[in-house]
Symmetry: C5
Subunit: 363 residues, 5 copies
Amino acid sequence: MGEDDAHGKDRFTRVRRKPEATTGTPPGALTAPPADAAIPPTRIRVLWYDQDHCEEQESGEASICAAYAGRSGTTWIDVTGVGDPVVLQELGRTYGLHPLALEDIQNLRERPKVETYEGQKFVVFRLARISGSVSMEQVSAFLVGSTLITFQEDPIDPWEAVRTAIRGGAGRVRSAGADYLLYSLIDVALDEVFPVLEQLGDQLEDLEQAVIDNPTPETLSVIFSLKRELLMLRKTVWPEREVVLGLQQDLSGLIKDETKLYLRDAYDHAVQLMDMLETYRDLASNMLDAYLSSLSNRMNDIMKTLTIISTIFVPLTFIVGLYGMNFRYFPEIEWRYGYLFVWVVMAVVVVILFRYYRRKHWL
Amino acid sequence: MGEDDAHGKDRFTRVRRKPEATTGTPPGALTAPPADAAIPPTRIRVLWYDQDHCEEQESGEASICAAYAGRSGTTWIDVTGVGDPVVLQELGRTYGLHPLALEDIQNLRERPKVETYEGQKFVVFRLARISGSVSMEQVSAFLVGSTLITFQEDPIDPWEAVRTAIRGGAGRVRSAGADYLLYSLIDVALDEVFPVLEQLGDQLEDLEQAVIDNPTPETLSVIFSLKRELLMLRKTVWPEREVVLGLQQDLSGLIKDETKLYLRDAYDHAVQLMDMLETYRDLASNMLDAYLSSLSNRMNDIMKTLTIISTIFVPLTFIVGLYGMNFRYFPEIEWRYGYLFVWVVMAVVVVILFRYYRRKHWL
Amino acid sequence: MGEDDAHGKDRFTRVRRKPEATTGTPPGALTAPPADAAIPPTRIRVLWYDQDHCEEQESGEASICAAYAGRSGTTWIDVTGVGDPVVLQELGRTYGLHPLALEDIQNLRERPKVETYEGQKFVVFRLARISGSVSMEQVSAFLVGSTLITFQEDPIDPWEAVRTAIRGGAGRVRSAGADYLLYSLIDVALDEVFPVLEQLGDQLEDLEQAVIDNPTPETLSVIFSLKRELLMLRKTVWPEREVVLGLQQDLSGLIKDETKLYLRDAYDHAVQLMDMLETYRDLASNMLDAYLSSLSNRMNDIMKTLTIISTIFVPLTFIVGLYGMNFRYFPEIEWRYGYLFVWVVMAVVVVILFRYYRRKHWL
Amino acid sequence: MGEDDAHGKDRFTRVRRKPEATTGTPPGALTAPPADAAIPPTRIRVLWYDQDHCEEQESGEASICAAYAGRSGTTWIDVTGVGDPVVLQELGRTYGLHPLALEDIQNLRERPKVETYEGQKFVVFRLARISGSVSMEQVSAFLVGSTLITFQEDPIDPWEAVRTAIRGGAGRVRSAGADYLLYSLIDVALDEVFPVLEQLGDQLEDLEQAVIDNPTPETLSVIFSLKRELLMLRKTVWPEREVVLGLQQDLSGLIKDETKLYLRDAYDHAVQLMDMLETYRDLASNMLDAYLSSLSNRMNDIMKTLTIISTIFVPLTFIVGLYGMNFRYFPEIEWRYGYLFVWVVMAVVVVILFRYYRRKHWL
Amino acid sequence: MGEDDAHGKDRFTRVRRKPEATTGTPPGALTAPPADAAIPPTRIRVLWYDQDHCEEQESGEASICAAYAGRSGTTWIDVTGVGDPVVLQELGRTYGLHPLALEDIQNLRERPKVETYEGQKFVVFRLARISGSVSMEQVSAFLVGSTLITFQEDPIDPWEAVRTAIRGGAGRVRSAGADYLLYSLIDVALDEVFPVLEQLGDQLEDLEQAVIDNPTPETLSVIFSLKRELLMLRKTVWPEREVVLGLQQDLSGLIKDETKLYLRDAYDHAVQLMDMLETYRDLASNMLDAYLSSLSNRMNDIMKTLTIISTIFVPLTFIVGLYGMNFRYFPEIEWRYGYLFVWVVMAVVVVILFRYYRRKHWL
């Protein structure tokens, strides 16, 4: 819970920060982490495969990648933990990665985007996760010829299923190249948003009932946190749609025509996600209107109660007060049936008011 | 009612779901239904016709289609129930259907779309129905040369009239090809939305009266459910408009120029539907504003009543309380016309307050 | 009033309806009216003119048109009442009108549009009228060479002035061709919207005063009906703007370049109408906000009154109640100036509260 | 005040009106003013200049212009008062002005626009003025070769400074042609909007204070009139932006390349005006929200006061009422310290309630 | 604080003002400051560098620039204080700066923009600063060949870090030309917005708590001032995004291809800023809704308290009033257990009302 809360709390205020001292340093420079930061150790996993073979290797050092640099087949280098500039620089040198792109890997608040440098594609996207609140992990990927290099902050592996498919040799992935692998990873990223949305949808449905039955300040803050999370998801999925479109319209030849067909499918999914997000946002806005209407309804209810009880008893209290006066010359007081008379008067008053309220649909 | 309710309840939370285990399986793979699912049996109806002849056949097996594969004239293969991967695969092999499109057939929450693969058009659209709440059934269609293959989940047949027209040989449909048949089915789908909208329009009109006469929490939840249904219809009709436009702008030669004239007509209908939907959505939003205003009006009414009665009787009660005091030395009490005097004072107070309220337009 | 009301009431729920039995009939088929429907009789007026001559003829039969089919000069065939399929079919045959367009003539809820068929333009637009509420009559027109055929539902003639101008031979209309005549009719249709808007504008101005002076539920329903009428006008004028633009950008040669200059002028008027409509819609929305604010103001007023009177008399009533207690040992009761003392206390309380309310700006 | 008020009041309801009788007259016809209308007399001022000379002439007759028709140098014909069709027709004949454009000059509610006719530019724009409320005067201009003809309704001269600059021979205006003169006039028109906006901005700032300190119904109507004026300005500046852009993108050669640089500058100013207008409209909308929130705050304040005083005195009144009962057998009444006991009870009640309200942050 | 406040207060009402007398002066003329204005003295700093050398000079006179005009390497002329037309004119002559651009430098409310004149780029952008409230300082820059001339109003130096990097010879800046220097300055300007946004984000977060816990009028005015500042930032960042895009799409050859890669990076940052701004604006709008909902909640709370206490004590007061009547013939008064009976009746009333409120979820 602690981890997630921290994510949730900071998510709107965390911005791209360069340490004060380095403002003015030339762009494209990599930043070493502050000495006292507890960065997770960098782990590099290399997965090489072609139609017939498949090899895996894992290390904390970037040096293991060099051997795969010119090799035929497809190489997938997956780097977990992006705080170590040494690893980035070594990979950058080996594969000729552009310094501006390398800098973006370290900036964990980049917007999803795709950029084309000479002979390479640089893609930034996000992995959505929900556990209590929604969190988004940034993933960067370089497509350099037949090599795909991915960078992620968090050691949780979202692509185990892709790895398993490669190892097992099932499906297209083994025979298709690195561009298809990139598509597969993005497709997983988009697919992961569906269960997140599903859960938010369930929360919306629960809310709807709560709003009508018992609108409390807590309901209100749940509505607003839902709106915030939908806003955040939208901010991610919208540019990811453009990322997929950008890859699909690639002219550099890095993306094969066959893969573009699959990207069209991924694009459809992104559009469907946007559709759902918009629908949910509309529903969440409706919810807020419903909340205010519900409060107004309750207020009317409260005021009706007050008005009915007050306006019935206020005249009655006046009447009984009237006969509590101490005038010496006060004819009714002496009457034989004065007390009865008062009750009759009060009954008449009550009946009249009841009818009035019935006519007004208040009862 | 049960069926419809279930549809209504789930409609916003149901999302594209791949079973957990298959995330990461290569895209384009068909999913066998879970063993315990009660899927309706697949039924295949083949309708073959040319200018002069017309043949019909029905079976649970896809094998009956093979005979029609190369035949001249127009073949319409209508598959009801899409849970059986065997049928899909067999049809896919016979007609060379693209695996990504086949996968989309099984995913019952696809967005309406049209896609062009080598020598084939793949179209997804929806059939709207209303019985209590609105439900939308997904229909997929392949146009492969002179063959049209349609897939639908539900065994209710919306196209009986088209079938009758083909059998009877009336109209253009017999002489025109498979592209015109596809147009006819889409036209029926669009036409079916009109009575649905009509019914929602009637509900809107009833609401309007209810909102002004007696705004209850129930009215509110009817407004919101109407807004939700209009939102859902919009989510369907909007991309269907694009589907029709996409077919109209076809460059592959699968859609004949003459059919494009008819598609233009269908496009006009889709635009008209969007117009009506937008109008209804505006009216539903107005309704909500009217609801809140109506509540405010009633609150003012309630408070006016309370204020008038309270402010008249509160001073009177004070006056009678005054003469209920037990002071030993209390001159008015001893007066001969003290009691009468009190009544005069109270009458004056009432008259003054009445005038005040009249001046304020409260009475 | 009856007629107009009926128009007004139905206007948002009337939709394109095909009789149940004919769903599935081939598009382009004309529908005979139901046997029991009271359709106004069809009337055909032919007006033929060239630079020097002008001929008029009127009949219930379409056969009178045949004579004009190939004649030089300009022929205007004006058909009132569109329920008779025989007339439509005969005209269709004589002038080669497209069946899809003929079907649209009968559908009285078409969206304004312009369509180009081989050698002919088909235009749908609307005539706005206001008498109590706003109503819109559909007009369809075919431009076939030098012949203009117009269809309208209602026997009221909006184009008498154009006819008079033709008869009198004044202005450009006699020397210009059928395309200029079409422009003239559309220009009249657009011009007719201005007085309608003017009247709605006057209603808006009256409302503004009413909203601030005395916001009643009736005011609210007038606001909403105004918003509905503006919405309806917008739904008509917006596509009419596109109709004019479509004619202006005509490539078929049916519209002469000189007429296009005039169409540009008509386009400016349509844009100006849209501008005014948007302004009025903004004002109507402001009105609604003003209404709610006005209600809130009144509520504050009401509550202030209640609060001031209540909070002054409630403590006083307590005080007089205090000395109405019957305790045997009750020192103040016995005081010589007890009664006077009570009045002094009450005066002090009133003064303090007055000052408090003055400081709060409530008095 | 009278003049301005009339402007202000009518400004949203005045629309393009053709007299009833002339509907159907051919477009492009000039309308003679109704006989009983008090039209200001037409005044024509001709200013001719080249690099070295400068001549001025003024008359009520259009005949003075003929002499300048073919002359080299730049001629500026400024017509004040546009009600006289004779003057328009004479100028139209002399300079070959298009009849449709001439008709637009008389219609004083045209939208700002630029139109190109053979060898001439026709421009409509507006001059904003503020004195109490905002008013907009229409100005039309023809650019025909080296002649600029301007038409304005109102005799107040906004371009005196331009005239002075021409007379004095200062700056570019003397050496540049009629296109630069046109730019200068439009630039003045745009510049005049800045002080208007400034004044509206000051009003907005004053309002903000008023809304928070003391929201009255008057404040509300000032907010709405501000919104209306911003709406009106927006309706004018937006198309003027397009006018400047249209002149800048001129292909006819009437606008010289050097003048286009200056028009780019004017375009920047128009964009800046739009920016400011949008900002002010946002602020005015905020103001309305602030107003409603402020009212809600006050209502809470009022209700708190009522609630605190009522709920303190209501129980006390009950208690004193209790001991005002006349039961024969009533033990407390007889107590020696009964009266003191009642005071103690009441004190306890008050203390408890105070604490309760303090805990709720109401005190 | 004083300085900042003044900035904050005026920021929406300050507009481009030409002194009255100069309206009509030819555009492109420089304005001398009013004689009594306290303008900060103009300071000119020249920084010249190439790969190997670096020279700095500072003066109050523009004459020091002349020496660098044709020299190879990169020259950066930084002018602080823009009120002195003599300096501007001298620089304008030396480097051939366009008069319209020079005029824009003096107008301190220009919109960020980029303009291309023959052989030079003119760029206007802004530096955001936050200290209490947000202020934006205007910076103008000319890129003329290998010379960059920057103008700023305020003597605070935001580019010290860039200067240091040039002096130290670190990074690309020394080897790259004046276009890269321009990019560096714009990048600093964009980077400076991030901490400003961060601080506004923190304020938003604090507000959220305040709104739910204790919504006061002060909270409201903080929300509105936040909305205003976000609006102002948006008005600046949005055109700056276009400035960067405009430089990136430069066709004049003034911006080298390599620098364009860096500008793409700056563009991404601008887009990210816009994203954050939009998110914050959405959150601020939510905040306002939350505020109103929170007020409604409190009102309900207040009214519930009033209603519960009133409706319990009002009937009780009636009852005790009843037995305070002085009728001579009043049976209950004489009862032995009359007093006890009254207490029982009152207890029953209280219990019934409690149950009623519990059922309504008010307790």
